[in-house]
Symmetry: D2
């Protein structure tokens, strides 16, 4: 199977369950909203080493937000509900409340459960906070030095999907990189999904375990490392491929991840020098979700 001359490998991406939250961060201007959204979703590429997986989902213009101001939807995710609750509290409290002119609203549909992080944050107001209603939502208005910070009382969480993925293989490193960036651009318009790695792109796809150092749970995937192609006998890299980048996707549900993979792969296939789309899996026994690449089209 080929798209625009690019081979779509007959394989599947293996993905996992994760608890996701979805928040809307509004501010006086688009740039101020982006600043807060970026701070709150930083240091959050993978729960392997970060306290959360997080990223910017989509932009909403003033006409589509509860307070008529521009906003960015962000997703914050963790396997554990308790850790997600903590991350929500701190990422809102330290990254958004502290940012100029912001407000935060719940933006998750079909929540499994509500967490009262907004309620917890209201105590920062030291008795001067007020409960108000915006767009039929219960919101706390907390006086801060620069004005009033608005935060919805409760934020929904639900069982979502982590680790949807595909690999972009190119004739050269930079072909693969541009292919991956084009994929990220396309995915950035699919609501309900994020690409949590830096700039949306993963440079260092890994394997489970480590052969040389037994104390490590994860290590470089030598069979897919382009600079080891000639050194590693079991290299699984096609001879004409010299660059590989991975895209990892978290989503609110299977359908969102599927759509993100579809649009991302189509976009990668528009880039000259991209030769093959592959995907990462662990034999199919670890993850709850399988996305066959060829079934996407």
């Amino acid at each position: 199977m080929q798209i625009n001359g690019v081979d779509i490998k007959d394989t599947f991406a293996e993905a996992f369950g994760i608890k996701v939250s979805r928040l809307l961060v509004t501010a006086a201007t688009k740039k101020l909203a982006l600043t807060a959204a970026t701070e709150a979703t930083g240091y959050a590429t993978s729960v392997i080493g970060c306290p959360a997986e997080a990223g910017i989902d989509v932009y909403l213009p003033p006409t589509e937000t509860p307070d008529g101001r521009p906003g960015y939807v962000i997703m914050i995710c963790n396997m554990s509900k308790k850790k997600l609750s903590h991350e929500l509290l701190e990422r809102i409290g330290m990254g958004i409340l502290t940012a100029p002119t912001t407000a935060v609203f719940n933006e998750l549909e079909d929540a499994d459960e509500m967490l009262n992080e907004g309620f917890k944050l209201k105590f920062f107001g030291d008795g001067y906070e007020k409960e108000i209603e915006i767009d039929d939502r219960k919101v706390f208005s907390i006086p801060i030095m620069s004005g009033d910070f608005l935060v919805e009382s409760e934020f929904g969480i639900k069982d979502g999907v982590a680790g949807g993925n595909f690999f972009v293989g190119g004739d050269s490193k930079m072909s693969a990189l541009l292919g991956a960036q084009a994929a990220v651009d396309a995915i950035s318009n699919v609501p309900g999904t994020i690409t949590p790695f830096p700039g949306g792109v993963v440079a260092s796809g890994s394997k489970v375990g480590c052969n040389s150092y037994k104390f490590l749970d994860a290590s470089t995937n030598e069979k897919m490392c382009v600079s080891l192609k000639d050194e590693v006998a079991e290299s699984e890299i096609r001879e004409d491929i010299n660059g590989i980048y991975e895209i990892v996707i978290d989503g609110v549900d299977e359908a969102s991840v599927k759509k993100a993979m579809t649009e991302g792969i189509k976009a990668a296939c528009t880039i000259p020098g991209v030769l093959e789309i592959n995907a990462g899996n662990f034999g199919g026994n670890l993850g709850a979700y399988k996305f066959n690449l060829r079934d996407l089209f």
Copy 2:
């Protein structure tokens, strides 16, 4: 005392000791270096709730970096050496190693001590990593999917200064905000300093403790909240001031923080509507450093 017609209050900023590291993140392009630097320094406004305080220090052009590529110097800080060691490992490993085309070098002069986080990261290479030398530095080259990630073996840490600060008071909220943003622009060119809050600006300066809710260690500083000016009898806000934003600065030493405060305040004073520069302190008994505003000029 006035600068450009703006009152400089006769008060001081109270600051604290913190352990700082200073790293250089290079990449193929300036934009790729910025992407990695941003991810690695996110979720790091204040150790009150974040796992670190971090931010981008200065940009270095290709002519000034060990590998001849553009780079951003970042600072990562924590009160505890053990926590800083952990944050260095994870922020490099999860936020920079995972980003396209990056390398990381130690950029701290006069270190008190060296931490071997680069050495720890080399094990990710599963035996395929190599030790090389760049610019007289011991560096590990770790094969990753997209190429080779370079990381210096050791990173210096030293006793630095956290919480250098000043308040920008304006005739209106937006005057104060622009004043604060102008200050951040100026500080961004002072080497050895960061402004770790979102976009460099703090919207929510706090006080120690909480009157209404005893379980809280910090809460809103009601005497400095512009929307409580008429409600709080002890409000310390000048009658003609309607907007206040704070700048918080971390630096490698006292001199750097002093320079950042000086340049930042001068810049804030160029903005129409800025009326007063104030500073935050706790009576002078908590912090190891005091910066008298009027001594800066």
Copy 3:
């Protein structure tokens, strides 16, 4: 009439006829498309002194473009058809054809007339150009050093509207500026409109003619200059207003300009310190279009 406590003055904006074109610039990535769109729409704030009025209209994701790549819709306008034809040729030829990985398509609905600028550009191919079809459009593929540049054969023009406008008055200069920026953010999501001034904001609204220097056709509008409020007896600035910025809008038709003004004004009224929305007119005798501010809501 008030919106969010901001006075909407009982006045109207006076606007003019102009010939507009509307193009879609696609590229390998969103950033590359933006680079070309920015170059092609620069130096184009007002036909008073610029060779065109131009700006970026809206972003289209890969799913909504003829070639499945991300793209920016831009508008290029001039009173004269002949000048517009020249500007189209040169802005496409010098600003987009020269930019990495781009393609250009006609994106104007209901054109009054088609101009064959794409056909004219094909000659740059020196006989190596090819006619192809994309999405039922006649397109020329022109070999250039870096690959093939695609340009649709014909671009539509139609009678549109120039000079839709409103003034944002604030208690301080920076309040008015942020109000104007918030307006631009909102308008940027209204298809069929641009705000051609730098960053979408006009700092220097002018009057027709000049009292002191008769050789000038336009000069500063002293009655609306905030720094002349006390100096000019006939100043029309409200006592509590100390900052004024203007928004100017060009659109494909009256309805688009009306929508842009509506959304822009609503957004400006969310900014603290914004006090009044006003508009610019010349008594109603010069322009073909009048937009009563209060009729917008």
Copy 4:
């Protein structure tokens, strides 16, 4: 000759004389200064079809500008003094005076001649303008709607160099593109130079004249078009090269262009997949300046 394994061809870039101006645009914040600088230097890739060649030179922090605010140095160039005078007047008047919070100063050292464009602009003040002095410069303060616009009275021009250039050849299109972008990043720190094409990169290097259509003065350089490599018998493209982008540099003097070429080429040679650096000339008979690639190192 090789740099980092990349072949430096034994050839030269042929460049031309041009009249250059160099201006400093300051504003309240770095972002506002960039907005004005971008508008004023748009639609200015090449005098072949644009009214000027222009671009952003370097950023100056508040400590290095006459008014203590952040600023961007820009260059505006034209072969003809008369046209340059016109472009200065209009690009300042329409692109900078109209932008929020700006001021403009002369930033050219060793001018051959001074043009009084600031003096001409003062008439916009309709008698309310004032002459002031800043940093020993004669400056006009012109009241505009949003405040006061400052413009230095005179701007220097001098004989500079246009069309310094080199080609980045890569194993794939995207390798060459990233190589070119890395070059632009490096050149952006060389004072006195600009790369006037979109994003600094030329996608469409041309030849003088046209074989198939005699009415054209310039057309595609088919011998250097990667997509015509197999079709054009006289193709001058190395077999393993599949992507070529060009960098064009204008500078205040030969030394600046030389430095920009040197730093740009070194940067391009750090990008994986870049194979060869070439340059464009016309046999050496057209241009006043020759830059031998190998003499740069």
